[in-house]
Assembly symmetry: C2
Homo-oligomer: 357 residues x 2
């Protein structure tokens, strides 16, 4: 493989020192216009591209970010990743993709690898509520930002940047909506208890139960793992109960789509027999064939904000200011909750359906 020309190659050709070439190509002072022109034209001829590795080594920065996610097959992450990738490119950064498959030891391996590769910062969408890996990084003052996740109980937790939706409110909105439509038996498909998103959404659901005078002990909860099959299993379990719920809230859409499958396989109709609400508003939930009522969050924006915030920190803007950003979730009413069966009128449906990115 033919390698790129280096500044030394150019220097030899032009008959100057490599420093002079460096000055010419980087608009540094202390070089005459004529030498500069000669160098630039030769460089162009040779299709010179700076060796970013060497630059990184000497400058101590790589203009690269790590993106740590659980699994790219959950459609939430491509949508987030798009916001992240676009913003990173805009700011001149690259992304190294790391999928942990929910394995915290793999997460650690990835972190070690990213650090030894000298990435300037890491974006985590996979953080656990208690995450020793994150704690370690924060202690080392390594630039990072959490997306769609928070960390609790860590003595350093108020020093950790994050961008999240107000998950508790989202959970509240989802279950409030179901209660308002007359449901009293509601099943919640929750997520892994080490995920703040899962915990907070469930908490919001509980809060709605209490606020509307229902007994939170009667809120049925089955734990899923954020993946589709677990939604399927949970739905089937709910529907095999003697006192089966009449509505199901899944704390993410991916499981909700599994639940949808499970409900149909159990011989029930949506929404006539069972109402279903999800969370995330992933793209396919809006399909006419699906029409899943869900909680929307601004995913593209979350990704974009995360990158901008992280890079501000990396490049020393904002100083030590901690940035903990919470975005508003919104209820997106579609067919699966059965609002149309109950004479429920959607307030400003257009406004609700519209989602800027």
């Amino acid at each position: 493989m033919r390698r790129y020309a280096t500044i030394k190659d150019i220097a030899k050709l032009v008959g100057v020192s490599h420093t002079t070439v460096h000055r010419a190509l980087n608009d540094k002072p202390r070089i005459s216009q004529s030498t500069k022109d000669r160098i630039i034209s030769i460089a162009r001829e040779l299709n010179y591209q700076p060796n970013v590795l060497a630059q990184s080594l000497v400058l101590g920065r790589t203009k690269t970010l790590g993106l740590v996610i659980t699994t790219i097959v959950n459609p939430l992450y491509p949508e987030l990743a798009k916001g992240i990738e676009d913003a990173a490119r805009f700011l001149g950064y690259n992304i190294i993709l790391c999928c942990t498959n929910f394995d915290i030891s793999l997460e650690k391996q990835y972190i070690d690898m990213l650090r030894s590769r000298g990435v300037d910062g890491i974006i985590f969408t996979s953080a656990h509520i208690h995450d020793p890996n994150i704690t370690r990084l924060v202690k080392d003052q390594f630039p990072l930002i959490l997306v769609n996740r928070r960390v609790y109980g860590d003595p350093l937790m108020d020093r950790i940047d994050y961008v999240v939706a107000e998950n508790a409110k989202g959970g509240f909105l989802a279950v409030e909506h179901l209660i308002k439509m007359g449901h009293k038996m509601i099943g919640v498909i929750s997520g892994p208890p080490d995920s703040s998103a899962a915990v907070e959404r469930l908490e919001g659901a509980r809060k709605a139960f209490i606020e509307y005078g229902l007994n939170p002990a009667e809120l049925l909860v089955l734990e899923g793992d954020f993946l589709k099959p677990s939604g399927y299993e949970a739905a089937r379990k709910f529907l095999s109960l003697r006192d089966a719920p009449s509505a199901i809230f899944s704390v993410n859409d991916y499981m909700a789509l599994g639940a949808l499958e499970g409900i149909l396989d159990s011989g029930f109709r949506i929404p006539e027999d069972i109402a279903l609400v999800g969370f995330n508003d992933i793209e396919f939930t809006s399909l006419k064939a699906i029409e899943l009522t869900t909680i929307g969050q601004k995913k593209y924006e979350m990704g974009s904000i995360a990158v901008h915030t992280l890079i501000d920190k990396i490049e020393g803007r904002d100083g030590d200011k901690v940035r903990q950003i919470t975005l508003e979730p919104e209820l997106i009413v579609r067919r699966s909750c059965g609002y149309q069966l109950r004479g429920y009128t959607v307030p400003h449906p257009e406004a609700l359906l519209e989602q800027e990115i």
Copy 2:
């Protein structure tokens, strides 16, 4: 940010030269066991991680691959990316994610960036049929592999590795299936004419038309861009024709889901009024609410094979052997084609639905 300890730090602490540290940490000969033990224990204490940048600079390899895709929001790509990421991790490589948004000049920018970052090879899922960027790389003997795409008419085309499904056969199977169920007016939503996948699938569709004695001039074709909205638009256009087709074949599932939407919005039912067939078997097409008949290809495997093939080449196995791998597509019959309405029996439905990864 506290930086990692280097071999020189360790050398100073132990009182040896940095070369000795290198020998200790890399199992090189010419070092005594006792020195080795001392060094290793100190290294562990300091949580030593080698600086991969420095290694890459001197070794001339980065153990990093570029992954160039059009847009991660097309669900085909996360499924491919999973196969790629898993295989890369297994082989000790990392992935830099690049989304070109179908922009060939952005593709070029990404390539330049990847090369100046010293990636060892690039995986393209975004190659155009005539792609000067690819030609350039091949001329430079830069390791690359195309996935789900081929390049034509390039004098170097038989030197370019690729992994694809036999797209023409897939297109043939899709349309043959529709013809067998009695459809004579078939609309095809094709893709960008600079994508080999789109061209070959359309070609396969034409071949089926001819082989079954239909007039290929009567095959209705509308060009989409592989994205959902274009599928929607195409379907609506088809259905507004005086001689509207009774079946639609979309050359990818993402557009097919748009078409599904368009068909329903036009007031038609699937499959009673319109049969629909897609291509790719992306995860959500199997949902009970969708049940899209489609052409399956082994996406995870494609990604995995691509990585193994590319790395074989990078690491000098296989020598100069060109690897052009074609996988079998398969017809996956589901509800949307209306087979159940026509008394069509699916041969070995279990075998068809099962897909190993």
